[in-house]
């Protein structure tokens, strides 16, 4: 992976208005892999009693991270769109903790990229959520 790929994908994420609104940053990138972090923010609370982040914000993080992994794949183009995305919520994220998603684009055909991702909030052994998705490969 050329070092400037990190810069390009990182800048790309910062250029997406919704990613900026959620203050997402690229933490790492490799061939077909990406990591994206989203800090805790009270505006994103889904359960006011506990302060737990809304599942929708985790979906936005997962979708961004999966898209970044597709862009980082050597066989895929620099543009992609989500075809479908499934998220499993394993446990509520701990209020106050940054959530980090890691995605791997594990197979690419001429038209489809297959991706899986995991989100954690500090404890790598106990994921908050996992996701699987299919993304377009632009020709």
């Amino acid at each position: 992976m050329p070092p400037d790929k990190h810069k390009i994908v990182g800048q790309f994420i910062r250029a997406l208005p919704h990613c900026r609104a959620l203050d997402m940053t690229l933490t790492d990138i490799g061939p077909g892999t990406a990591g994206v972090a989203m800090p805790y923010d009270e505006r994103l609370i889904g359960d006011p009693e506990t302060g737990v982040i809304h599942g929708g914000a985790v979906s936005a993080l997962m979708d961004t991270c999966c898209g970044a992994a597709v862009m980082a794949h050597p066989d895929a183009a620099a543009l992609t769109a989500t075809i479908d995305l499934r998220i499993d919520y394993m446990r509520p994220a701990i209020p106050g903790q940054t959530i980090t998603a890691r995605a791997e684009c594990y197979h690419v055909t001429r038209s489809v990229a297959f991706v899986r991702a995991t989100a954690t909030d500090g404890d790598e052994t106990r994921p908050v959520a996992s996701a699987t998705g299919a993304f377009t490969v632009e020709s």
């Binding site: 208005p17 929708g56 979906s59 979708d63 769109a81 989500t82 075809i83 995305l85 499934r86 509520p92």
Partner: protein, 172 residues
């Protein structure tokens, strides 16, 4: 047979709208995305008002896929809670004078959520309606459809499974 005299329309509306407001107003993320709920009888339509911060790729421009997922998930959770609370709202078990988020049962928890992206979300308002396909004591299955200009041209649809809140005596 003696027919009970129907309640005045404003009493009915006030009761239903108070419960709906209590359900929605307490959640910061719903406000952050700018989602409102329109009610016709027991039918809810979630409305996502367009804002620049909802954009994913500014070159197209299109709504962020995560925004679409979040909008559909919110429509599903509120739609499910609404159908679950309906009987208590209508029976007067939920008091419209005092109802607040603290008086309502907890919201259902998402177990899993799958979104189909059918076409890209245009930079304008979006609408969604949820249908509860099955609601058991513990689990529920909900389907959501979202559209923009034409009701029949969906831009996304989703199915999700939810864990229902425990039925306790917290209703006042």
């Amino acid at each position: 047979m003696v027919r009970k005299r129907p309640e005045p329309v404003q009493v009915v509306k006030q009761r239903r709208d108070a419960a709906l407001n209590a359900l929605v107003e307490g959640v910061p993320y719903i406000r952050f995305l700018g989602i409102a709920f329109e009610r016709h009888g027991d039918e809810l339509t979630a409305v996502l008002t367009y804002d620049d911060k909802l954009i994913g790729n500014p070159m197209l421009p299109a709504l962020h896929g995560g925004v679409t997922a979040a909008f559909l998930e919110t429509a599903a959770i509120i739609g499910l809670s609404w159908s679950y609370l309906w009987e208590d709202i209508e029976s007067g078990k939920i008091d419209p004078e005092t109802v607040s988020p603290a008086h309502l049962p907890r919201l259902p928890k998402t177990i899993d959520f799958t979104v189909d992206y059918l076409r890209s979300g245009l930079p304008r308002d979006a609408y969604a309606r949820a249908r509860v396909n099955r609601q058991g004591r513990r689990y529920a299955s909900v389907q959501v459809e979202a559209w923009q200009d034409n009701r029949s041209r969906l831009f996304a649809q989703a199915t999700g499974h939810f864990l229902m809140p425990a039925r306790t005596g917290t209703l006042t």
